[in-house]
C-alpha cells in the first residue's frame, strides 16, 4: 500500500510542487494521476522514492516512512520511469541480472529471467541484443520486466506509456492489469487519458501541487474523461478540491 499524509514539497526557489497531498493506493488498485506538466505528479513519485525530502508531511510505503527508513522502504517498491534507457551496452539478460541483484534477489537463473522477459511480451530473439538497439517500446517492456522480477507489492510508474505505439501500449496495459490482479498497488502518473480510462480503478487530477479531483471507476462511467480533464485543468479553483478529505 502507498500512502501520503499531508505530503508537501516546496523547492528552494519557492515553488510549491506538492501541496498537502493526502492519498492512499490500496493493494489490488490501479491509481492514475493526471495533471499538466509541473502539476506535481513526478514530484509525488520522487517523494515516495525518497529522492527528495518532503517539506512537510509523510510518504509511506507498506506503512514505512520513507524518510525514516529509506532503504527498507525500497524493498517494497518498484519503479518504471518515462524513458527507460538502461545500460545500452548490456543485453536484456545482463540488465535484468544487474537490477535483480540490486533488488536483493539472489539465485535467479537465466530461465527465470527469460520467463520475466516473456511475461512482458519481449520477443525471445531480443534477449541477447544490446539494449541500445532497442525501440522505446522494447525498453519500456524491459523496464517493466525489472519491476516484475523484483515482485514488490507497490509499483510506481512515471508516464510509462508516453511514446508507445498502440500495440505496445495495449500490451503494457495488460501487464499492469495482471499486476493489479496479483494484489499490487499501482500508482501511475500519466497524460494518457484513453489508456488510463481502460485500466484505472481511481483517477486523480493534480493542479499546482494539489489534488483537485478524485474519481472512482464507477464515478467515471459514462463521463467524458477528456472533457473532464480539460475542465478541471482550466476552471477548477485550487481552493475547491472535490474529493473527500
Amino acid at each position: 500500500m502507498l500512502e501520503t499524509i499531508n505530503l508537501t514539497k516546496r523547492y528552494e526557489d519557492g515553488q510549491l510542487a506538492v501541496d498537502h497531498l493526502n492519498l492512499k493506493v490500496e493493494p489490488g488498485e490501479i491509481f492514475c494521476m493526471f495533471g499538466a506538466n509541473g502539476a506535481g505528479k513526478t514530484t509525488t513519485i520522487n517523494l515516495l522514492l525518497n529522492f527528495i525530502p518532503p517539506t512537510e508531511g509523510t510518504a509511506l510505503v507498506e506503512g514505512i516512512d520513507v524518510t525514516k527508513e529509506p532503504l527498507r522502504s525500497k524493498d517494497f517498491i518498484s519503479f518504471v520511469s518515462e524513458n527507460v534507457t538502461l545500460y545500452g551496452n548490456f543485453t536484456a539478460f545482463q540488465n535484468l541480472d544487474y537490477f535483480t541483484k540490486l533488488a536483493g534477489k539472489r539465485g535467479m537463473t537465466k530461465a527465470d529471467y527469460a520467463k520475466a522477459l516473456k511475461s512482458v511480451g519481449l520477443q525471445e530473439e531480443a534477449f541477447n541484443i544490446r539494449t541500445k538497439n532497442y525501440s522505446k517500446g522494447m525498453r519500456q517492456k524491459l523496464g517493466l520486466a525489472i519491476a516484475v522480477i523484483k515482485d514488490a507489492p507497490n509499483i510506481l510508474l512515471d508516464e510509462p506509456t508516453s511514446g508507445l505505439d498502440p500495440k505496445s501500449g495495449q500490451e503494457f496495459l495488460k501487464l499492469l492489469i495482471q499486476m493489479r490482479d496479483q494484489g499490487k498497488s499501482v500508482f501511475m502518473s500519466t497524460h494518457d487519458i484513453f489508456r488510463a480510462k481502460l485500466i484505472a480503478d481511481r483517477v486523480g487530477f493534480m493542479k499546482k501541487g494539489r489534488l483537485v479531483m478524485l474519481k472512482t471507476r464507477q464515478e467515471l462511467a459514462g463521463e467524458d474523461l477528456t472533457e473532464l480533464y480539460i475542465q478541471y485543468m482550466e476552471e477548477r479553483s485550487e481552493s475547491e478540491p472535490e474529493y473527500p478529505k
Binding site: 522514492l49 532503504l71 525500497k74 551496452n89 537490477f99
Partner: protein, 469 residues
C-alpha cells in the same frame, strides 16, 4: 552488492567503444614510446662510447702537455637507461664539457642544439603519454560517471532499490579504476618485457626499484584525474558541463600552471644572464693574465741566472717557480669562477626551486619532476654532474700544469715530451642513490595522495547528497 556494482562498472566500460579505442591507442602509444626510448638509449650509448674513445685518442695524440692542457679533456655524460621512460631535461641540456686549464667548464652539445625541431614538440616518452594522453582518458572515463547515469535515468532506477549511496559510489570508484587500469597495465607489462629481452639493455636492482616507483606515480597521477572526474561528475547536472569543467581544469593543470610558475619565479627572483657571468669570468682571467705577466717579468729581472749556476739549474729553478705561480694563478681563476658560479648557482637554484614549488600544485608538474628524479634525468642530476666536473677541473688543472712545467723545454732544441695519460686523474661521478631520489619525490607522492583523498572525499560527500532526479 558491492561486487555486483564493481562487476557492472567493469563490464559496462569494457564493452564500450571508448574502451576498445582507449585500449588500442594506449597499447600503441605506450609500446611505441618505450621502444623508441630504448632505440634512442642504444644510439646514445654508442655515441657515448665513441666520444669517450675519441677523447682518449685525441689526448694521446697531443704533441705536448701544454697542448693537452690547453685543449683539455672532454667529459661526456653517460646516457641513463631510464631516460627511455622519462627523458627529463637530458635532451635539452648539454652532454659534454671540456675541462682545460683556462676556462670554467660548462655542458654543451645538447640534442636540441643538433636538432632544434625536437625542442618544439618535446620527447614522446612514457611520462608525456601518461601526463597528456592517459590523463585525458581518465577524464573521458569519469566525466559522466554519475551525471551520465542521471541523464540516462539509470541512477533513479538503481536508487529505487535498496542500494546505499556510499556503496554505489565505492563500487563506481573501484570498478571504474580497474577499467582504466586494464588498458594501461597490459601495455606497461609488455613494455617491461621489451626492456627485459632487448639486447644490451641491463637494469640494475636499483633501476627496477626506480621503474616500479615511476609506475606507481603514474597510477597515482591517473587516480588524481579519475577522482577529479568523479568529483566534478557528482557536482554537475549535465555531462557536457562536467566535461567542459574537467577540460578546463586539465588545461590549467597540464599547461597553464607550469608555464605561469616559471614566469612568476623569473619575475620574483631574477638572475643574471649566462653572458654576464661569462663576461665577468673573462674580465678576471684577463686581469690575472696581465698581473702574472708582470710578476713573471719582475721575477726574471730580480732573479737572473746566478754566477756559477748552470743553465739547467736555472731552467729547473725557473720551471719550479713557474709551476708554483701557474698553480697560484689558476687557483685564483678557479676560486673566482667558483665564487661567481656559486653565486649564480644559488640564485638560479632559488629561482628554479621557486618555479618548481609553485608549479607543484599541478599534479602534471609533480609527475614530471618525480619521474625525472627517479629516472636520473632531472635538473638536480644535471647540476650534480656539472658540479662533479667543476670539482674535477682543479684536479685536472693541477695535473696538467705539473706535467706541463716539468716537461718545459727552454732550449727549444729538444723534442717535446711524449704525452702519457696513465697517471691522469679520471673524472668520477656517482649517480644519486635510490633513497635520495625517493626523498626528493616524497612531496610529489604526498601531493598526489592528498589530491586523491580530497577529490574522492568530495565525490563521496557530493554523491551522498546528489539529486538523482
Amino acid at each position: 552488492m558491492l561486487k555486483d556494482i564493481i562487476k557492472k562498472e567493469i563490464l559496462e566500460t569494457i564493452t564500450s567503444a571508448k574502451f576498445v579505442f582507449t585500449f588500442l591507442l594506449c597499447a600503441i602509444l605506450i609500446l611505441l614510446s618505450v621502444y623508441t626510448g630504448i632505440i634512442n638509449y642504444r644510439v646514445d650509448q654508442k655515441e657515448y662510447s665513441a666520444a669517450v674513445a675519441l677523447n682518449k685518442k685525441n689526448l694521446e695524440s697531443q704533441p705536448s702537455y701544454q697542448a693537452l692542457a690547453n685543449l683539455g679533456t672532454k667529459i661526456n655524460r653517460s646516457p641513463q637507461v631510464l631516460g627511455s621512460i622519462s627523458t627529463g631535461v637530458d635532451e635539452a641540456v648539454g652532454r659534454v664539457a671540456t675541462v682545460n686549464v683556462a676556462f670554467d667548464p660548462s655542458l654543451v652539445d645538447s640534442k636540441y642544439e643538433s636538432n632544434p625541431v625536437f625542442s618544439i614538440f618535446g620527447a614522446l616518452d612514457l611520462t608525456f603519454i601518461v601526463k597528456i594522453v592517459l590523463s585525458l582518458f581518465a577524464i573521458l572515463f569519469t566525466y559522466d560517471a554519475i551525471v551520465g547515469e542521471k541523464e540516462k535515468g539509470t541512477l533513479k532506477l538503481t536508487l529505487s532499490n535498496r542500494v546505499p549511496r556510499d556503496r554505489l559510489i565505492l563500487g563506481k570508484v573501484i570498478g571504474g579504476f580497474v577499467s582504466l587500469l586494464i588498458p594501461l597495465i597490459i601495455p606497461l607489462v609488455l613494455s617491461l618485457l621489451v626492456l627485459l629481452v632487448y639486447p644490451n639493455i641491463s637494469l640494475s636492482g636499483q633501476d627496477w626499484g626506480r621503474l616500479l616507483l615511476m609506475f606507481l606515480i603514474f597510477f597515482l597521477y591517473l587516480s588524481v584525474f579519475f577522482t577529479l572526474g568523479l568529483f566534478v561528475s557528482a557536482r554537475t547536472n549535465k555531462s557536457s558541463t562536467s566535461f567542459l569543467i574537467l577540460l578546463f581544469i586539465w588545461v590549467t593543470f597540464v599547461t597553464i600552471i607550469p608555464k605561469l610558475s616559471v614566469l612568476t619565479a623569473s619575475r620574483i627572483k631574477p638572475i643574471p644572464s649566462v653572458h654576464e657571468i661569462t663576461a665577468k669570468k673573462d674580465a678576471f682571467l684577463q686581469q690575472i693574465q696581465v698581473e702574472y705577466q708582470k710578476i713573471a717579468i719582475n721575477y726574471m729581472k730580480e732573479n737572473p741566472m746566478k754566477k756559477g749556476e748552470s743553465a739547467k739549474d736555472f731552467q729547473d729553478r725557473f720551471k719550479k717557480w713557474l709551476e708554483d705561480i701557474q698553480q697560484e694563478a689558476t687557483a685564483k681563476i678557479d676560486a673566482n669562477n667558483a665564487a661567481l658560479e656559486r653565486d649564480y648557482g644559488a640564485k638560479k637554484r632559488s629561482q628554479v626551486g621557486l618555479a618548481i614549488n609553485l608549479s607543484r600544485i599541478s599534479p602534471a608538474s609533480a609527475l614530471t619532476f618525480s619521474t625525472m628524479s627517479l629516472a636520473r634525468t632531472g635538473l638536480d642530476e644535471h647540476e650534480r654532474f656539472l658540479a662533479s666536473i667543476r670539482t674535477y677541473k682543479p684536479i685536472f688543472t693541477k695535473w696538467a700544469n705539473a706535467k706541463m712545467m716539468r716537461t718545459l723545454d727552454f732550449s727549444g732544441t729538444g723534442q717535446p715530451a711524449k704525452v702519457v695519460l696513465d697517471d691522469m686523474p679520471q673524472h668520477k661521478f656517482e649517480p644519486e642513490t635510490l633513497s635520495k631520489s625517493l626523498a626528493r619525490t616524497i612531496p610529489d607522492f604526498g601531493l598526489m595522495l592528498f589530491l586523491i583523498i580530497v577529490f574522492f572525499a568530495g565525490a563521496y560527500v557530493s554523491f551522498l547528497k546528489y539529486d538523482a532526479r
